[in-house]
Symmetry: C2
Subunit: 869 residues, 2 copies
């Protein structure tokens, strides 16, 4: 039978850093710290396997666990010199959760076992007492207050559990262990796992640890710290602490914490307009306050970071001036910090390039690429809080997480404004553009979670007067109501009234370094989806090597073009259509000239007209009248044509190359525009590489017919222009049948580009436009493990892709294959494309860096897998 309980403390431990899956992050952290000689209160960890046993066993503890726990507890008593349940010399313990991955605040923790049980309801009881007495902080409570509190808590517990609060410490211990295991499957933990793609089967470990007290007077303190700045990545020790407090006080953000180092304490005072005198009196740094403990802390953090070779997030308590380390783990950080720390650590020779790359979550780069506020924009700054998570955002003020979620579902941009946040607010935080809190520091719930989400957050903005019942927020005499727009700058902490214009992100040198390293490892090429020269230029700046999807129809809507398009659609015959297409030709040619120039030197995949024609005609009578007038025909005729274009399932209707088959003159015009543009550019010395892509091919004959038109047109144009350009003709692979018959299609197509949006729609039979009525429930209930429109469904859609690649390459071993669906910017999907052996991924310009890094991850992680790591 596997060992179930691992002891630690007194300079030794049974576990070690390799046991993270078994002991959880917290458990291995404590074991490893013990092994390193770092002062850790003694304790023991019950493994995650026991959690799984517990659930498999219908929430019963496995037999024999009690004996193991008893033995471990004996060791703790011996090291700490107290007795568990000893009335005279009581050993108090904490019971904490700890999964293999950090799930901050998601699960239960039971502290001060034998004194009380901190539940959410409990907090309300305490708040009530504080409100009755007019107190603002826990430390204001008197002994009588506390006695009263305990009575009230016990009454509440009795009312809720229908049995009295257990006075037996053993009973308390087992209830606490059960509570922690149980909290693995509370609603917010499940949601958090789903959001992060964590497995429900991992389970949590339970660490029982002797309590040390930071709240036994003014020689006591408790704090959390990061070995480097989690916001900027700066190599500077950064932490917050509170004198005479418990750890939860710091994290919950109820009291405004003090800074650990003198430097950051002074900076904080400056930012908050606190004089040096006031600072020294009311908010001194730990460095000033308890210099011995501080020096010890510096030694310990340095040792820990060197040992773990990563920025650490540590928790400590000082009990009567003795430093105790409660936890260490890799610190959550902003993307900017992740990039800086990774590059710095390579330079410091702490880690190698591969490790540096893997340390950065590709998706997090999104944060760096998001726009910031236009420095020239007029800002009506009404307040300043802590710059808790960088970025710039605006939205309508909402004071409630549920409503934030609802408003966002309706398409509103919202800013969630709370006095402070708690795990219950997670859904609303996720839905919001940004988060603003009145209370709490840089390590408060709001700050930590927002950084994890890559969401703009301003914390601890104490000047705000938030009133949930009137749904208003006041700053001095200014009143902001629910629904009013505000803007947040997560990098400066500024809060502004109204919408503030944003500008593009500027990227640091470290970012460029990381991207360069990524390119050294990645095998996939990264292209972009771009329909305009501007987008092409942006993507090129982000490192795109070509365009994987240029949607020509987007150009059809611009300015006066739509008139010509409608004229073409309304034409009675080929003659009429050709006349209208002739008007479109120079416009399309201009588009292609711009795009081919912007991406000179790289391949530009231009997709022929794809959407059904009814998307181009107006459906309301007013617009139809205007159209009729403009075209000089009767309203009835317009209506009849619009009616005839109606389709029951336009997704599966007359679109894609089906249009090019029935109206070959459209394909011809588009090909002519492409090749005239290409030839003329080449004459001017521009290196053009047009790739004409036929959409929605499902049968061999479709590509044969369309290719012939394109090739004939290309040859005609090149003969006229007396210059040859290299070009390719290929297909979008987006119909299941195209995958199944890819060998036939590859005999004719020179490249494949997976259109995974449509391929997913048809493979699942999900219309993306309509799936809102059931897909969210499917994802919530895990009927499907991922939203297949976000991440490629490897089992189904991926299987089709695999078959298509194998069949295509069998016929043409040099067939170029890429992906241009939205999955091309999703890291998990990019890994899959790498595994399939595709040549490139193509994504929106802002996701190009993400794709480059994800492509490098795919190589490195799969090398590791191959090597058995």
């Amino acid at each position: 039978m596997a060992k179930r309980v691992y002891s630690f403390g007194g300079g030794i431990a049974e576990g070690n850093a390799d046991m993270k899956n078994l002991l959880g992050g917290k458990g291995v952290g404590l074991a490893e710290m013990s092994n390193l000689g770092v002062p850790v209160p003694a304790g023991f960890t019950i493994t995650t396997e026991v959690c799984t046993e517990y659930y498999n066993n219908v929430r019963e503890f496995p037999a024999g666990l009690d004996k193991d726990v008893e033995a471990a507890m004996k060791k703790v008593e011996k090291i700490m010199g107290h007795g568990f349940g000893d009335v005279d010399n009581p050993l108090l313990v904490s019971v904490r959760s700890g999964a293999r991955v950090s799930m901050p605040g998601m699960m239960d923790t039971v502290l001060n076992l034998g004194l009380n049980d901190e539940t959410i309801k409990g907090d309300e009881v305490m708040d009530k007492v504080k409100h009755e007495k007019g107190y603002t902080s826990d430390v204001d409570l008197t002994v009588d207050d506390l006695k009263d509190l305990v009575k009230r808590f016990k009454a509440l517990i009795k009312a809720k559990l229908k049995r009295p609060f257990p006075d037996n410490p053993q009973e308390q211990l087992w209830e606490a262990i059960g509570a922690v295991f149980g909290s693995w499957n509370n609603e917010r933990a499940i949601l958090y796992r789903k959001m992060n793609g964590f497995d429900d089967d991992w389970g949590t470990a339970v660490t029982v640890q002797s309590m040390v007290f930071g709240n036994m007077g003014n020689t006591c303190a408790t704090g959390v710290a990061f070995t480097r700045d989690p916001s900027t990545g700066e190599k500077a020790f950064y932490g917050e602490y509170l004198v005479n407090a418990q750890g939860e006080d710091v994290v919950a953000g109820i009291r405004t914490p003090q800074q650990v180092t003198l430097v950051s304490s002074r900076n904080w005072a400056k930012e908050n307009g606190v004089s040096e005198k006031e600072r020294k009196e009311k908010f001194p740094s730990l460095q000033e306050c308890m210099p011995k403990a501080y020096d010890e802390l510096v030694k310990v953090y340095t040792k820990l970071e060197k040992h773990y070779k990563d920025m650490q997030d540590i928790e400590f308590t000082i009990e009567n001036e003795k430093l105790w380390m409660l936890q260490t783990r890799s610190g959550k950080r902003t993307a900017a910090a992740a990039v800086k720390i990774a590059v710095d650590m390579v330079n410091e020779k702490l880690i190698d390039k591969k490790t540096a790359l893997i340390r950065i979550d590709p998706a997090s780069l999104d944060q760096l690429l998001h726009p910031t506020f236009d420095p020239k924009a007029k800002k009506d700054v009404i307040a300043k809080g802590l710059p808790a998570s960088p970025g710039a955002s605006y939205g309508k003020v909402v004071f409630n997480a549920d409503e934030a979620h609802e408003w966002a579902e309706k398409g509103e941009k919202v800013i969630l404004v709370r006095i402070e946040t708690s795990p219950e607010d997670l859904k609303g935080m996720n839905a919001a553009q940004g988060i603003l809190t009145q209370r709490g520091g840089m390590t408060s719930h709001a700050a930590v979670v927002a950084r994890g989400m890559g969401k703009c957050c301003v914390c601890g903005c104490g000047v705000l007067g938030i009133n949930y019942s009137t749904r208003t927020m006041t700053v001095g005499s200014r009143v902001i109501k629910e629904g009013d727009f505000i803007s947040l700058d997560g990098s400066t902490g500024e809060v502004m009234v109204g919408k503030v214009d944003t500008v593009e992100a500027k990227l640091s040198g470290n970012f460029e370094t990381i991207m360069k390293w990524a390119d050294e490892y990645k095998k996939l090429s990264v292209r972009t989806n771009a329909d305009s020269p501007h987008d092409a230029a942006v993507a090129r700046k982000f490192g795109a090597k070509g365009i994987g999807l240029c949607r020509t129809e987007h150009m059809f809507f611009e300015g006066d073009r739509i008139k010509a398009v409608r004229e073409m659609i309304l034409a009675e015959d080929l003659e009429g259509r050709k006349k209208a297409l002739k008007k479109l030709l120079p416009m399309q040619k201009k588009d292609f000239t711009g795009i081919l120039s912007a991406m000179a030197g790289y391949g530009v995949t231009i997709r022929l007209l794809d959407p059904p024609l009814h998307e181009f005609v107006p459906h309301d009578e007013e617009s139809q009248k205007i159209m009729a007038k403009e075209m000089g025909i009767s309203l009835e005729k317009v209506k009849a044509r619009v009616e005839s274009l109606h389709e029951f399932n336009p997704m599966l209707g007359h679109r894609g190359c089906r249009l090019g088959i029935t109206y070959p003159e459209i394909t011809e015009m588009q090909a002519q525009a492409i090749f005239e543009a290409a030839c003329e550019l080449k004459k001017k010395g521009v290196d053009v590489k047009p790739e004409v892509m036929v959409p929605l091919v499902g049968t061999f004959r479709e590509i044969v017919i369309q290719k012939k038109i394109i090739v004939d047109t290309a040859e005609k144009v090149m003969a006229q222009k007396k210059i040859r350009v290299d070009y390719q003709v290929g297909t979008m692979i987006e119909v299941p049948r195209a995958c199944l018959t890819a060998d036939n299609i590859a005999a004719e197509a020179e490249f494949f580009s997976f259109g995974t949006n449509d391929l997913t729609q048809m493979t699942f039979g999900f219309s993306r436009d309509d799936a809102g009525s059931f897909l969210p429930e499917y994802v919530d209930r895990k009927i499907i493990s991922v939203d297949p429109f976000k991440t490629i469904d490897r089992t189904g859609v991926g299987e089709l892709m695999k078959q298509a690649v194998a069949k295509g390459r069998k016929v043409n071993k040099f067939l170029k294959i890429g992906i241009c669906g939205e999955h091309g910017g999703d890291p998990n999907s990019i890994e899959f494309c790498h595994l399939l052996g595709l040549d490139y991924v193509s994504c929106s310009p802002y996701r190009v860096p993400i794709a480059r890094l994800a492509a490098a991850h795919a190589v490195i992680l799969n090398e590791e897998k191959k090597n058995g790591k």
Copy 2:
């Protein structure tokens, strides 16, 4: 190099019956007849391979062919004693087409080479002359008339070809051979091949044969005959002939032909009110007229039928009382005749059962199963023609084939009424419910083609006065206008005014015999798609062994049920939905009781609710008002709900098991209704085998969740009713992803049923409702080789099915797999299902016999293929 030219005549031949693909039907028939010692005018056949060479060679004859033809012609001259191009003793030849399959009237024939060229335009010239002179028949033409005719023909040819008519017989010969090859790709031949699924690459052979003349006076005749009655299958020699005529005269139906045998001549006279005296004088039988030639003909036909072991369609000419056989081939026949002949020939020990089965085209059985007129219905018979092709039909009178096609496209039922038909009318004949002609016999173009199509046809109804320009048809004083309804009885020849009620087909004992034999060979079980006890009973009578698809939602529309359904849809919450479902429960239970009883002893697959809910709510304001009133809620609420149910692509929307996932109470109600019905029936001793089918499953979890509800409900009901019934829970496989992940799904599903309609829609990305805008063109232009909604696309959709079968059976080797899409009644698709190793096909009741026979064909034909035949 392959032999290109095969000679025959004078009791020997170079070819034989095994060379059909090479020499065409006509060519092998003549060779084989020569070999049998049947009197055949000598000639030779140029192979179909030469036709292919000709086309590959840009319509140039291959080198060396001229030498081969010259040598063969020499042989003919020797046997016949005439010289080709010899002015004193000219050998005249015919040049005829002949493909491996019969394509009656589709290609060109050049007769009397050196005299004229019978083209359609040519016929107009002859008609003009006849009209000018007031003649009714070709034999009325005088020598001067004919001289005039030749002059006019030559002028016409010159005008058309821009060069004079070639007087050199050699030149004529080569032009004629080229014309026949060329006619392989004329429009009507291409259309005919497409309709019949014949390959464009087969090519036609050209048979050059010495002419014998049935039009050299009254000791000459020409005729066509069937060795058995092609309409009923009766073992009776049946033929028509004309004295002093050419073969084309009989087929074209310009003169009313006489009967070959005395018996049928007398019958004919009786049916047409012709006195025996008049008959003997004007319409004597060949038996009476030329008894010696008749006796010879009887000997020959008996020999031929015995040799070919099949009913023969023969052409003969009598030149100066000498019988010449021009052609023999398997005779086209009605389905009833095919069945009778097949059974009779087995009884006569001419053929075995397998051959008998293969002789009957499964699709043709449709004719036998079509309704006939209700004998009790009031009929307003206005005329009687020849019962050319059996069946009963009614429709609006249309006088023009193109218009018949157009009207039918719009959904009108039409009867095509023509003086006579020609190959140009094919499209209109195909579109019509039935065909009525004024002129022509049982072997006229209209009759032969209609029988092939299984379409009701009345021919040679001479009493009709058809006026194309006024678009009227008169019978005595009665005038029927275009658009008026008439009814045709193809089995009696009756023409009726108005719509006449029809009744179900009654099946002959021979039919039952064939079905019994089919069941002996077939491996696939045949079920039916039925939504009502009535349909189930009809299908059972046709031999269905169970129901493969019972669509529960069809029941939702009946009577008052739709109210309860709408109440359910409009309900605000679970409570409200459950209340409405409670009302539906007894109704559904009654349905299932009826269906399970009607199919007692066999499995009944009941599909849970499938269509999107918006199909059940009214979309026009008037109906919405009524609904609002009935439900006692506001119109706005009704509108809002209807609006909320709108989907952009309902095919890919909230339907199938997605409804059962979001509204589990619907699944529960349906399961309850099924199991209450089943339990109560079983208590009464009825053998019930319910199989609950979950539609649109695409993921493993869907079937898990739905199956749990069904099983839980079943157990609950069975416990309540204190009886157990055997049941299964399975899935419809209709989403591509279900095929790709069939191994997962098979772990839970007890059976698979391919829903090939939806599977085809999603695999191709074709919405069946919308594909009308391009699919016909796709089929016409052979962009897809078959209409995938009619016949399974083996390459794409079939590949998915293959993978699903393999994956499903890998997990569960006893997995029951069937098909319930409309392809389940299509013979080609049934063969594919057999090859895939499915357990059953399910089709509409009237297609059950077709499926049984097709399933037997699949076994027999694939055994033959395996044996290398």
